[in-house]
Every structure is written in C-alpha cells, then in structure tokens.
C-alpha cells in the first residue's frame, strides 16, 4: 500500500487517463488509485470551472462576473460529488457491482481531470481569440468534456465489472437515487426544524412563565 500522493499514484493517474480500460481495472484490483488525488482533482475541477467563468475572455464568455461565487461553486461541486458517489454506491450495491466506495470516488475524480485541463487551457486560449475564432475554443471544451464523461463512464463500468449497457442503466438509476436522497434530506431537515421549533417554544413558554 503506497501513500495517497506518492509518485507512482500520480504516474498511474496519467496512465489511467490515457488507458482507461486497463487503468480503472487495476485501480479496483490492485489499489493503484488514490482517493486523495481524486478529491484534489475535484477541487481543481471546481477551481478551474470558476476560473473559466470569471476569467475567460468576454468574446466567448456571456457570464456576468459579478454573479460568480467560486466558494459557493466549490461547495456545490463537492456536494454533488459526494451525492453522486453515495447514490452510485447504493445503487450498484444492489445491482451486483463489485466496486467499493473508494473506487467510485476515484473513477469520478479521475474523470474530471481532462475537463479541468481543457477549462484552464480554454480560459487561457480564450484571451487570444476573436469573435469568429470562437469555434476553436468551444471545440476544445467540447472534446475535453466529452472525454471526461467517457472516462467516468468507463471508470464506473470497470470498477463494477459491468457491461456498457448495464453501466448506462445504473447511471440513470443513480440519478433517480440522487433525487430520492435529496428529497429525504429535505424531509429530514424540515422535520428537524419542526422538532427544534417544538423544543424552542417549550423553552420560551417556560422562560415567560417562570
């Protein structure tokens, strides 16, 4: 067992991105991935996403910089990451998935790497393009995002030892589970609020009577 941020783990990240089928297989079976790196990559993804919205040249960027809150975006990205991992794990547990929670976290985290890369590259590039050269920028982003999504898909497929069809179905069910989790969370918080209010009113009542 190597350290989470050892040199081998970083090299294996590059290997996984360039050889996803092979890479994710050994992540599952030989623990060659690193959850630490995966979480760091999601951080980087969130940062580059905000950076792209803030710093991309206004020729390609239709976003009012005043509406960008990178801390809030980091928070949302991490929540989404956590929720997706949990719901995917819950679903695949019931559907004969072989992957552990850490494998799912690694598959998603590693999948964001190409997206972060093109977001940063695109942000720099956008400052050197004119109106009619936008196509290059959007092509770059499109290719990167598509590759990232394919990586995540392959990652989920490999760590659970699924076929492609089953992967697609589980991903769909994962989104359903996602919504159920959100619904339950809202319900829980609502009920907790009610309980809190109940005790708070008892407290207030006692305070005023005593």
């Amino acid at each position: 067992m190597q350290k989470a941020f050892s040199k081998e783990k970083w090299q294996y990240l590059l290997h996984t991105i360039s050889h996803p089928m092979d890479g994710f297989y050994w992540i599952r079976h030989q623990d060659r991935g690193s959850v630490g790196i995966a979480i760091l990559l999601v951080f980087i993804f969130s940062a580059s996403f905000s950076a792209n919205r803030l710093l991309a040249s206004f020729v390609v960027n239709d976003i009012d910089a005043r509406t960008v809150n990178s801390l809030y975006e980091l928070f949302s990205v991490m929540i989404l990451y956590l929720l997706f991992c949990v719901s995917n794990w819950s679903v695949t547990c019931l559907m004969n998935g072989e992957g552990r929670m850490k494998d799912i976290a690694i598959a998603i985290g590693y999948g964001t790497a190409p997206i972060s890369f093109v977001l940063i590259l695109g942000t720099i590039m956008s400052n050197f393009v004119a109106d009619d050269e936008q196509a290059f920028y959007f092509l770059l982003l499109g290719v990167g995002i598509a590759y990232g999504l394919i990586l995540m898909m392959i990652g989920i497929m490999q760590v659970h030892n699924y076929t492609l069809g089953k992967t697609l179905i589980t991903v769909l069910i994962t989104f359903a589970a996602f919504l159920i989790i959100v619904f339950l969370a809202l319900l829980l918080f609502n009920l907790l609020g009610m309980v809190y209010n109940f005790f708070h009113s008892i407290y207030v009542e006692i305070i005023f009577r005593a």
Binding site: F58, V59, D64, F128, A130, D131, D132
Partner: protein, 503 residues
C-alpha cells in the same frame, strides 16, 4: 507623451463643458422629477441614469382661450400630430372637434368642428386620429362617422374616404378608422377597429388597395398539440389565435411606416414597414424592441409594456409610449435602447392614460386621454448629448461623436453606447489598445474582435524578428544537442532508462 497630453486636453474640455452646462442644470431637477430614468445594460440589469428629459410644462384645455373665450377642457383626446412648421393638431375626440395649436400649445390657432361637405354643413363624430401631410392637408379619422376626412389648410373639404370595398374585406365589415397617417405620396395608412389583417392602405384618390404589415401569429408547438387533443366544442370555446392590432403609426421622411402594437410576449412592440409592408426594423443585441425587460411576476407592475403610440423623431431615433407603466422608450436606428423615462401618477409629468406621443422641435410631447392634457418634456444635457451623438453616428461621423460620448461618460460612466462609440472611433483612428478597452466596456463583441485581430497582427509583425530569432535558436540548440548525443558526450535519457531496465 503626446497621447497623454491629448487625453488631458480632451478631459479638460469635457470637464469644463460639463461643469459649465450641465451639472447645476440636471441636479436641481433630478430630486424633484416625478419619475425615474433608467436603461438596461448588456446583462439586462436595470441601470439608473440621469434624466434625459424633464417635464417642462403641462397644457390643458381650461388654460387655453380662442377669440377671447375659453375653449373648455379637452374630453378624451386620442391623438395629435405636428406639421412641419410646428403647428399642432389635436383630436379632441369626445368634444367632436380638432383644436389647432401653435408649437408651444399655449395659443389656439383655430378650432375645426364642422366643414362644408358639398354645400351641406357636416361635423365630426368622435374624431380619433389626425395626420398632416406634406401638402398641409389634414387627415381626420372620423371614427363614428366611419370615414377619413381630408381637409386643406383653410378647412375646406378635399376628399372623404369611406366604405372601402374589396374582395379581401368581409361583407358586413364596418370601417371604423382609429389612427391615420399619410406619406409623401399622399398614401393613407389607417388603423381600423377590429381589423387584424394589418394596416389599411388607401391610394391618394381614396381607393383601398390592401393591407400592410400583417403581424403573423405564432402558435407554439405546445398549443398546437393541445388543439389537436381538444374536441370541436372545446376548440370553439377556446381563445382565438388572432394577431394583435396596431395601436399607433408614424411615417419617417423616407416613407417608412413606424407602427406600434401590443405584444403579449414583450418582444417587439414596434415595427418599421417598408413600402411593401415588410418589417425592416433593426433589433439590438438582445433582439428586443418590446420596452421593459423585467416583466415577470404577477404584480401590477409586471407584464409586458403596451406601446400605444410611436413617434419617429430624427436621425433614426424613435420613441414609443408605454401606456401600462407610462414610460417612454427611445431607440436608435440600430435598435439600441437609448433611455427610458416617465411614469404613471398624478403629478405633472406623469400620465394616467397616455394616448399619443409626438416631437416638436427638440421637445417630446405626450397627450393624456384621462388627464386631458399635453405634457411638454424638454431635453436635459444628458438627453441632448445622447441625441446629438447618435445623430452624428447616424450620419457616419463617429469621430465627431467622440467628444459628446466622453461628456456622456462624465454623467453616466457605464453607458455602453458611449463606450462603444468611443471605442469605434479609436478603432478607425488605429489605436487598437484603447479601442479594445472601450469596446470591452461597451460589451461590443463584434467590434472588440475586429480591434483585437488588428492588435494581434500588429503585435506579431512588430515582434516578428524576435520570434524568428527565438525559433532559430531553439532549432539550433536541438541540432547541437542531438549531435552531442550521437557522439556520446551527453547521455540520452532513453539510454539511461534502458541501462536501468537491464539492471
């Protein structure tokens, strides 16, 4: 050094000009104006601006007298028009008369309440619209008499246009003209009640020739789907898909007709129709000519603007009167919103039910049907600067407009039109860096890109020798390194790796 001096000079000039002319002027009124002036920026946020126009005075019928007698208050006046010499013709609808006023509306020049119709005395019944032709002939939409009356400047009858007949009109169609206007060839454009096919056009001899500027109805896929599902009875009870009626018309000197209409989606409340009746209006970046952009919600302030009249002013500038919120929206020939002002209320300068808008000299005048008065708005320094700068741009003289735009920026520093205007001037002058700066502030992608491309070319050409030298040096270095590797003076990485793997 020279540039800095020039900048300082321009700044100095504009500062003194602004101080000398405007600041005292606008500030003293700003606090007391009964409405707010604003505009929408690129992101469609509301940006408050200095007032472009301020109410000057209000004229109602009671304050006017003719031949020593008071003419009495107006009753639901619906339209007014302005002749080239500034004479104002006002349709005093419920009083069945036309009141002729001078350009300040303080003196009555005459009242027309009857005319000689081939020997018999004839009068009006709710004259709803008036227009004056270039030949000084007065066109009156005599709505309840179902005719358009044409009088010459002495008040003698020239022609009566009534009973239009055509195959395209229904059998039992009654012609109730509401608004009327006339172009340089004496063609009459008439908005009639319940006439959804468009504006009715009559030739100079009074012959009805057809419809003009028909507004197409958009039925969404969703509505189509529901109509498919609905039974015949349900369909007959559902709302009809009819196009909106036009509400007001005006003609520009080139013979293009500006027509306002009420758009329930708030996207396009005004059209510019060419002689074939096609809409050729230009829309700005946001593709919207519908007045207010923040129209969501269900409060009394929500909902799209309802343009009740439009006036072509000059240099491609036109203003639309919104009767829902009493605001006046002014656009330029490219469809950019220049400024917005006005409001509903009871104070002078506010409206209850604005019915018509016109421009006299530099003033904007608005007729209010409920308050039965005319409000004069005179332009402020801010309004004057924008009007003039837009006028110069319309004539193609962007360089001369720069100084005006700089003054606009002193009053309203985020004005996107001003920034774009200055940027474009720098672009033509060849100062691409400055051009880029201002065009970015003005959010003009198109021109920014032009400036940026030229800047990039300039940069590359200027530093071409540097790039080429660097390139040659890199190539030379590579050649040298590979030669050295061949001779074994430098150990190649690959060799090292091979050696390691052998071990």
């Amino acid at each position: 050094m020279k540039k800095g001096l020039l900048k300082k000079l321009i700044f100095g000039i504009t500062m003194t000009a602004a101080l000398g002319l405007s600041i005292v002027h606008t500030d003293s009124f700003a606090a007391s104006l009964p409405y707010q002036s604003y505009n929408y920026n690129y992101w469609e946020d509301i940006v408050y601006t200095p007032a472009p126009y301020e109410p000057d005075y209000v004229v109602d019928g009671l304050s006017l007298s003719y031949n020593g007698e008071s003419i009495g208050s107006f009753d639901t006046p619906e339209d007014l028009c302005v002749a080239d010499d500034g004479t104002i013709y006002l349709a005093d609808t419920k009083n069945n008369r036309i009141v002729i006023l001078d350009s300040s509306a303080r003196t009555v020049k005459g009242i027309i309440d009857h005319f000689d119709n081939n020997g018999t005395e004839d009068s009006f019944n709710q004259p709803y619209g008036v227009a004056i032709s270039e030949k000084d002939q007065l066109y009156i939409a005599d709505s309840q008499n179902k005719r358009v009356v044409v009088l010459d400047n002495e008040g003698n009858l020239v022609r009566i246009v009534d009973n239009p007949t055509s195959e395209v009109l229904e059998e039992n169609f009654t012609f109730v003209p509401l608004k009327v206007t006339v172009d340089y060839a004496d063609r009459i454009y008439c908005i009639a009640q319940n006439m959804f096919e468009g504006i009715m056009v009559f030739e100079a001899d009074g012959q009805f020739t057809g419809f003009f500027g028909t507004i197409n109805v958009d039925i969404t896929l969703w509505e189509r789907f529901w109509r498919k599902l609905a039974s015949k009875e349900e369909r007959s009870k559902s709302q009809l898909f009819i196009p909106t009626e036009f509400t007001g018309i005006d003609v520009d000197p080139e013979g293009f007709v500006y027509a306002s209409n009420i758009d329930v989606n708030g996207e396009q409340g005004v059209r510019r129709l060419n002689p074939r009746g096609e809409d050729v209006i230009k829309k700005g970046v946001n593709e919207n000519l519908g007045g207010d952009l923040w129209i969501a919600g269900s409060t009394e302030f929500a909902g799209p603007s309802q343009f009740t009249d439009v006036v072509y002013r000059k240099n491609g500038i036109y203003s639309c009167m919104d009767r829902r919120r009493g605001r006046i929206f002014t656009y330029d020939h490219e469809g950019n919103l220049l400024y917005i002002f006005g409001g509903i209320g009871t104070q002078d300068g506010n409206f209850q039910l604005p019915s018509a808008i016109e421009s006299v000299g530099g003033d904007i005048i608005v007729l209010d049907a409920t308050k039965a008065n005319i409000t004069y708005f005179k332009e402020t320094e801010y309004g004057r600067l924008i009007n003039q700068a837009v006028g110069l741009r319309y004539d193609g003289d962007e360089t001369a407009a720069v100084e005006l735009w700089n003054q606009v920026l002193l009053l309203d520093e985020n004005n996107e039109l001003a920034n774009t205007g200055i940027g474009k001037a720098y672009l033509t002058a060849g100062d691409y860096e400055q051009a880029m700066k201002y065009l970015k502030l003005g959010m003009s992608r198109e021109y920014y890109s032009v400036a940026y491309k030229r800047y990039r070319n300039q940069f590359l050409t200027k530093h071409a020798s540097l790039f080429l030298t660097a390139l040659i040096l890199v190539v030379a270095a590579l050649v040298v390194v590979s030669k050295l590797k061949d001779k074994g003076i430098i150990k190649s990485r690959k060799g090292k790796k091979d050696a390691e793997s052998l071990l």
